[in-house]
C-alpha cells in the first residue's frame, strides 16, 4: 500500500469515528433535553370541561386550563352589538367578532395579555372590555386589542359546546 492510500484510509477511519461519535452524543443529549418538555401526566390534563349554566348575561367566570386563566364571558346584547359594529380598519389586529365567538353570546378566550403575559382585568378600559394593568393594553368586548403595547388580540383556545350547558376547552 502506498503512503497516499494509507493516509486516505486513515482519514476515512478518523472521519467515520468522529461522525459516529457525534451521532451518539446527539442521541444521548436528546433525552436530557426532552425531559424538560411537558410530561405525560401534564399532557393528559390538556382538556377540561366547564359547566356554564349558572353564568348570568354580562357576567364572566375564569377557569384554569393548562395553568392559564381562561375567561368565559356571557355577553349582553349591547356588548355583542358593540363588538360587531367595529370596522376592521380600526383594529390593530383585524379579526371579525364572528370569527372569535362561535356562539356570539359566549366569548371564550385565554386571559393572558399578549404583551408580556399578565392577566387583564374585566369590564375595564376605554373599550368596555378588558384592561391590562401591567402596561396599559385596552381590549374591546370581543377581546381585541385596541390601544396599548400588546401586538395581538387575546387568544381563543380550542373549545366546543358539548351541550348547551357545558363547554369543553382543549
Amino acid at each position: 500500500m502506498s503512503d497516499q492510500e494509507k493516509t486516505k484510509r486513515r482519514d476515512f477511519l478518523f472521519t467515520a469515528s468522529y461522525a459516529l461519535g457525534a451521532v451518539g452524543v446527539g442521541a444521548a443529549v436528546w433525552p436530557l433535553i426532552d425531559q424538560m418538555n411537558p410530561d405525560s401526566s401534564v399532557k393528559a390534563l390538556a382538556s377540561t370541561e366547564v359547566d356554564i349554566s349558572t353564568i348570568e348575561p354580562g357576567k364572566s367566570i375564569t377557569v384554569l386550563w393548562r395553568g392559564k386563566p381562561v375567561f368565559i364571558k356571557r355577553r349582553t346584547k349591547d356588548e355583542i352589538a358593540e363588538a360587531k359594529a367595529v370596522k376592521l380598519e380600526d383594529l390593530i389586529h383585524p379579526e371579525k367578532d364572528e370569527d372569535r365567538a362561535k356562539n356570539s353570546e359566549w366569548l371564550v378566550m385565554i386571559g393572558v395579555c399578549t404583551h408580556l403575559g399578565c392577566v387583564p382585568l374585566g369590564d375595564k378600559g376605554e373599550y368596555n372590555g378588558w384592561f391590562c394593568p401591567c402596561h396599559g393594553s385596552h381590549y374591546d368586548t370581543s377581546g381585541r386589542i385596541r390601544k396599548g403595547p400588546a401586538p395581538t388580540n387575546l387568544e381563543i383556545p380550542k373549545y366546543e359546546f358539548v351541550n348547551s350547558n357545558t363547554i369543553k376547552i382543549g
Partner: protein, 260 residues
C-alpha cells in the same frame, strides 16, 4: 493488553454466571414461567395484559390499590393498549371525590383518563381494619418489590395448598407453598372460571395467574418495551464505535513501541 482483555472476558463471564446463579436460586424457590417480556427483545403479550387488567379489576382491586397508575396508562403505548374510548369507559366506572366546587363543597364525579386509579380504601388504617389487620400492599411496583419478581408473584398465586401436618394455622391465615414463611393472610384469590374472558380464553387458575402477573409486571415497569428497544440499539452502537475507536487507536500508535 492481553491481560486486560482476559480480565474483561472473565468479568463478563462472571456476571453472566452470577445472573444465572441468581436465576437458578430462584428456581428452587419459585416456579419458572416462560415470560414473553424476558430477554433481549422481550415484549408484553397485549392480549394477556388486557386479560390481566380484567383479573386485577374484578378480583384484586377490591383490596389492593394501584395508586401510581392512571387510567390513561391503559391506553398508552407499550401497555395493554386499550383504545382511548375503552380506557375512558373503564375510568368512568369509578367514582372519586373532587372539589371543592364554587360552593366550597366536595363532590363525587366519575373518574377521567388523567385520574390515578381509584383506591379501594381511604387510608392504610381502613385497609388494615377491613383485612384482619394485614395491609394488602399497593400493587403499582409489587413485582419489583419482591425478590423473584414475576415468577414469585405467579408462584404465590398458584401456590395455595393444604398445610403439612406439622403446621398449625390461626384463623384467617392460609398456607402457601411459595410465600416467604409459607403463611399468608390473603385467601386463595383465584378459582377456575372466576372471571369470564371476552376473548374466549379459558379462565383456568394458571391462566389468570399468568395474565394478572403480566399485567402487574407492566404496571411496575411501564416502559419495559422501550427500554429493551433502545437498549439493543445502544449496545450495537457502542460495539461498532468501540471497533472504530480500536482501529483508530491502532493506527495512531502504529509508530510507537511498545504497542497498545
Amino acid at each position: 493488553m492481553k491481560f486486560f482483555f482476559k480480565t474483561i472476558c472473565i468479568f463478563f463471564v462472571l456476571i453472566a454466571f452470577n445472573i444465572q446463579k441468581v436465576e437458578a436460586e430462584e428456581n428452587t424457590k419459585v416456579l419458572k414461567v416462560e415470560w414473553s417480556f424476558k430477554g433481549l427483545f422481550g415484549k408484553f403479550d397485549r392480549a394477556s395484559l388486557q386479560r390481566g387488567y380484567q383479573v386485577y379489576a374484578e378480583v384484586c382491586a377490591s383490596c389492593h390499590s394501584m395508586k401510581h397508575l392512571s387510567y390513561r396508562n391503559l391506553a398508552e403505548k407499550g401497555g395493554p393498549e386499550f383504545s382511548k374510548d375503552q380506557a375512558k369507559a373503564i375510568a368512568s366506572n369509578f367514582e372519586l371525590t373532587d372539589g371543592p366546587n364554587s360552593d366550597g363543597e366536595m363532590f363525587t364525579r366519575p373518574a377521567k383518563l388523567s385520574d390515578k386509579f381509584v383506591e379501594p380504601y381511604q387510608n392504610i388504617e381502613e385497609a388494615k381494619a377491613s383485612n384482619g389487620g394485614a395491609y394488602p400492599p399497593d400493587m403499582s411496583v409489587l413485582v419489583k418489590a419482591r425478590s423473584g419478581g414475576a415468577n414469585y408473584i405467579y408462584s404465590v398465586l398458584v401456590g395455595y395448598d393444604d398445610p403439612p401436618t406439622d403446621v398449625t394455622l390461626d384463623d384467617g391465615v392460609y398456607y402457601n407453598t411459595y410465600m416467604i414463611g409459607n403463611k399468608i393472610m390473603m385467601p386463595n384469590p383465584l378459582t377456575e372460571g372466576l372471571v369470564e374472558y371476552n376473548d374466549g380464553t379459558k379462565a383456568t387458575e394458571e391462566q389468570m395467574a399468568k395474565d394478572v402477573t403480566t399485567f402487574l409486571t407492566w404496571a411496575a415497569e411501564p416502559h419495559l418495551e422501550a427500554r429493551h428497544k433502545i437498549g439493543f440499539k445502544a449496545i450495537i452502537y457502542l460495539i461498532i464505535l468501540s471497533i472504530l475507536a480500536y482501529f483508530s487507536m491502532k493506527r495512531l500508535w502504529s509508530r510507537i513501541e511498545p504497542k497498545v
